[in-house]
Each structure stands twice: as C-alpha cells, then as structure tokens.
C-alpha cells in the first residue's frame, strides 16, 4: 500500500522537520545555548516519521533518551520543545525535564526516558487503559537495539502479548549502543526474531525507508486496534552523529557513517516525490523555508523566554500540594 501524495509530502516535510530541528539543536548545543546530555536522531528520521504517520493523533508514544524526533514527528509544539531543551520556564516541562525527560501529554507523547527500555513495561499499562476505555487507540514503545537486551523488553512484550494489548514495540536498530556494536550485544543477531518466542509478529524492516516503516506500523496499529495484540518492528537505521554530542566516535569508522549518509531517508523520499512529479524545486524550497521559519520561531521563542526561578525546583512534585516534609 502506498499513501496518497499529500501524505507522502507530509512525511517528507515531517522528516525534514526532524532533520533540521536536530541539526539546529546540535548547533545550539555546540554554541552553549542548550545544556544537558544530548542525544540527537540525525539519520534516523524515517523511523520517527514513518511510525507517527501511521498513528492517529490520539495514539500514544513512549520514547527514549533519543526522543526529540519522536516528539516532533508526533506533532509536539516546537516552541514548547525548544524552550524545554533550553531549560526555560515555559518549556513544556517548565525546564524540569530537558532533553532526556520531556513529555507532551497534549499529543500523547508520554515521555522521553533516561532509563533504557523503561517504556517497554509502561506500554502494556497504557494498553490496559486503552482497552478499559475502548478508545481504539494504540501505544508505541520506542527502544534502541541496545535497550532490547534489558529485562523490561522481555517482561513488557510477554505481558502485552499475553493480554493482547494494543502495543507496538518499535526497535530503532542503529547498530550501536553508545560504543557497543549491535552484534556484540545481541545474541542471535535479530531482535525481530525474538517476537516468535512470544507468539507475536516480528518484522525486520529498512528503517531508512519511511514507507516501509509506515507500512509495517500501519499494519501493526490495525492489528492492535482489532484487539489482536502487540507487534514488534525492528527498523534498521543509522545514527549519523555521535551517541551524544561531543562523542569522539572512536568505536566506528568514518566510512560507516559515510555509507549511512548514502541511505539518507530524507533524500530518498525526496527523490521519489520528484520522480513522481509531486515535488519540484520551488515546492521543496517552500517546504524547507516553512520548516526553517518554524524552527527559527521556536529558537527565538526559547531565547526570549525566561529561565525558571530557582525555587520553582520545588513545584510539580505532587498533585496534592503543598505540605511540609
């Protein structure tokens, strides 16, 4: 199945938005404007966008330490996100979360996570509440190839499969977990293959092909909404940049990244759209200009926003507040 041209264009714009956003964030970090331990998703845009394009606006996403792209793709406000990355008072989390712990409930983005694979066990519970409300939603749990080796992956997949919960486990396999190669972390080599042990579909796909991602997740979402239970999608992709900003990347060759760049998911869809005459130079420029303007606006907003007052560190802990302790 191929989506209609306008949806393809939306995916193209979506990937470009993630790409340009992350590149701007990298610059801002390098320029000392953004604090924290920063992990960006440059090169992995097709996964974030392919997944979110296959979801309804009210579907949920549980994200990772490398989560900006997921939030941008899910439709989160760039202003809220950028201000949060800056640690500003009007960031979406009032500056308390930052890059690794951001959430945007308004678009169903239930949180980045500084603990790997944490989302894998939260997801079945989101599935339970979806079932309870009979809302027909689904929830996506993103996790990396490295994170797949943690216990919560096993417990979460088993529980979701057992109770036929509407969960889509999406592994972003970018071949590396920080300095550790996928092949040296994952016995058997395939994460998708582990699905069989739980009696659920497990698919290994080209995560640099946004249509392949969209297709797999569309089917997984339909399955979830039908009440047939979870799916596991392993999307192979490449992280173009360091594990974190500042990573000297001594563990991998320059050629690997160069090869990765040749599979650029944004350029790939752009070629397809141009070949199909859906996109031309002028149109592409308009799309890009629009996105750049959005990002400029988000940056200007973040720059202009105040930092939180120090004592605001004491708010937001509990819903029933205040009390002395």
């Amino acid at each position: 199945m191929t989506p209609a041209p306008d949806r393809l264009l939306a995916m193209y714009a979506g990937m470009l938005r993630v790409r340009l956003f992350e590149e701007r964030v990298r610059e801002l970090f390098a320029g000392g404007r953004i604090p924290g331990f920063l992990h960006t998703s440059v090169g992995q845009e097709a996964v974030a966008v392919g997944v979110c394009a296959a979801l309804r606006p009210d579907d949920y996403v549980l994200s990772t330490h490398r989560g900006h792209g997921h939030l941008v793709a899910k439709g989160g406000s760039l202003r809220g996100l950028m201000a949060e990355l800056y640690g500003k008072a009007n960031g979406i989390c009032h500056g308390k979360g930052g890059t690794m712990h951001i959430a945007d409930a308004s678009v169903g983005y239930l949180g980045a996570n500084g603990v790997l694979a944490a989302g894998c066990v939260l997801a079945p519970g989101v599935g339970l509440s979806i079932k309870h409300r009979r809302s027909g939603q689904v929830v996506v749990a993103f996790f990396g190839d490295g994170a797949a080796n943690r216990g919560p992956f096993h417990e979460g997949v088993n529980l979701a499969a057992l109770w036929k919960l509407p969960v889509i486990f999406v592994c972003e396999n970018n071949r590396w977990a920080s300095t550790s190669a996928h092949a040296l972390s994952t016995a058997g080599g395939s994460i998708a293959a582990r699905a069989a042990g739980y009696g659920i579909p497990g698919e290994s796909i080209d995560g640099n092909d946004v249509l392949a991602v969209w297709d797999a997740v569309t089917r997984a979402a339909a399955r979830g909404r039908r009440g047939d239970g979870p799916s596991l999608v392993e999307a192979h992709t490449i992280r173009w940049v360091g594990h974190f900003e500042g990573d000297p990347q001594a563990y991998r060759s320059k050629e690997e990244v160069a090869a990765g760049r040749r599979t650029d998911p944004v350029a790939r869809l752009e070629r397809l759209l141009r070949d199909a005459k859906v996109l031309d130079d002028a149109h592409a420029q308009r799309v890009r200009d629009g996105i750049v303007a959005e990002i400029d606006d988000a940056v200007a907003h973040a720059e202009a926003s105040p930092l939180p007052e120090p004592h605001e560190a004491l708010t937001d802990l509990f819903a029933s507040y205040p009390w002395r302790d």
Binding site: H101, L110, V115, L122, A123, P124, G125, V126
Partner: protein
Amino acid sequence: MDFGDALNKALREEMRRDPRVFCIGEDIVLGVPFGVTKGLCEEFGPERVLNAPISEAAIVGSAMGAAMTGLVPVVDMHFADFVTCAMDEVANQIAKSRYMFGGQIDCPITLRMPYGIGRSGGGHHSNSVEAWFVNIPGLKLCIPSTPADAYGLLTTAIRDPDPVLVFEHRGLYRVTGEVGDAETLVPLGSADVKRPGRDVTVIATARMVHESLAAARRLAEDGIEVEVVDPRSLVPLDRATLADSVRRTHRVVIAEEGPMRGSTGAWLAWVIMEECFDDLDAPIARVAGPNVPIPFSPPLEAFATPKAEDVEAAVRQVVK
C-alpha cells in the same frame, strides 16, 4: 474485622466507587498468600483483578502506564522484598515522572507492600525496606498498625492523585479491631496517639506499635506512663503531633522492625532533634533490628526481631 479484611473492604469499596480502580499482581484472584484481595475477582471480574505473570517490572511499570492514561491501579507487590525486581519502575519512573514532566501527567498509583519478619520466612521474604522509599522524593508512604488505620489509609492512598506506598506488616493481617462502617478515612500526614502517657514518647510503626503498647502496659505497673505515637504515614510526616508529644514527655524511644543502620528510625530521630532539641532531657533511644539479613532458624529470627521487651528496656534507659 481483621487487618486483612479491612484492606479488602477498602479495595472493594473503592472499586465500587470508581470504575477506574483496578488491582494487579501475582496470584491476587485467589488472594494468595495473605487473602487481602480475596473475592474481588468474583465481584469485579478478571478485567479489574489482573493476575499477572511473574514480571514485577512489568506489573509496576504497566500500573504506571495505566495511571498516566486515566486508570487508578492498586499493585500487590506480593512481598515487599520483591520491589527490588521493579526498583527502577518505582524509583526512577513512578516517583519522578510528574515532576520531570512539569506536572503534566499525574501518577495515581497505590503500591501495597506486604513486608516484615515472621514464621521463618528467611532472607528473601522478611525485609523492612521502607527506608529506601522515604529517601526517594516523589513517593508518599504510609504504614498502618490497626485494621481501622489499614482501611482508612488504603482508601486515602487509592484516592490520592499521587503514588502512595502502603506498607502492610504481614504479621498484622490477622489482628482484629473495630473498623467504622461509614468511610472513616485517615488522611496522610496525620499521626495517632495510640496511648497517652506523660513520661516517655515511644514513636513506633506497624507491628512495633503493638509491641510498644505491650511494653507500655508492663511499664505502667511500675508507674512509668508511656505515650505511644504512631506516625501512620512517613511521607508526609505529621511532625506537629510527634513534636507535641515530645514537648510534653521530654524523652523519646523510636521503635521499628527494620535494621538499625540508615533506617526510618534514624531519620525520625533526626526529625525529633530538629523539632525539639531543647526539649530533650535524655538522648533518644532506638529499638530496631540488628544489621543483618533476616535469618531462618527460629531462635535466630527471634533474635533479629525487635519486641516489647526491647522497647521496655529502651524506655527504662531513657527515664533513668
């Protein structure tokens, strides 16, 4: 009504009152091993009384996922000892999410934590771990000693919009007492004077409340009047009631079951110091377990179990 039945009553009433409330845990349909969840599945069905696989991380984690999206889970930890198997979910996820997310998402979870020494449970089924959670900002924590408090606190915990851990001493499940018919809630942060007395304040939790009351009865025969104060919730803590008692008695014993070192008792001693340093006529005395895991053999287990006579000895020391 016994302590276990009081908890069951709280669960049943809250599940009737609010369709979002559900229970999840291992073997809870039949209510094994302590009977607290017995009969709930018959009334509310298996969709609201979820027998989970042995997957503590997924049980606690999925409770959080459900809580973030509109449900009100009550988790049965089976034995509090096994919270170690879901420690990240409690300490890093449940405790922190509301704060990190700037208050966007509430996390109304209740974690029922059956804990404590008894019947040669041994090293993996006997521990007092509440001190760890007192040290984790973002969690509320209560610890009832009577059926009425068990009922009142669990009800409050379930209705609370934040995560609450309820430590249920497994040696108390068959203790009986009055439980009001109407909703007799016990708010978090309200200590209770279980016995008034003018000479010494004994601050005690859970099983140690009963041991302290037994000690108080014996001491009364010697004319020593002990006031037994039960904090009932540790977070938030009712400092005012504790301090008020100490300002009257000027002498303090703190009694708990967990190990001496780095425990809640040590922290409560600090709180008393902070509130009432100048009111103290004697050093605070503490009763707690020795700094060892809980051994299996009955005489060893008995040695590791703080009892009424330990409280009595501590009181005699502070009034000397």
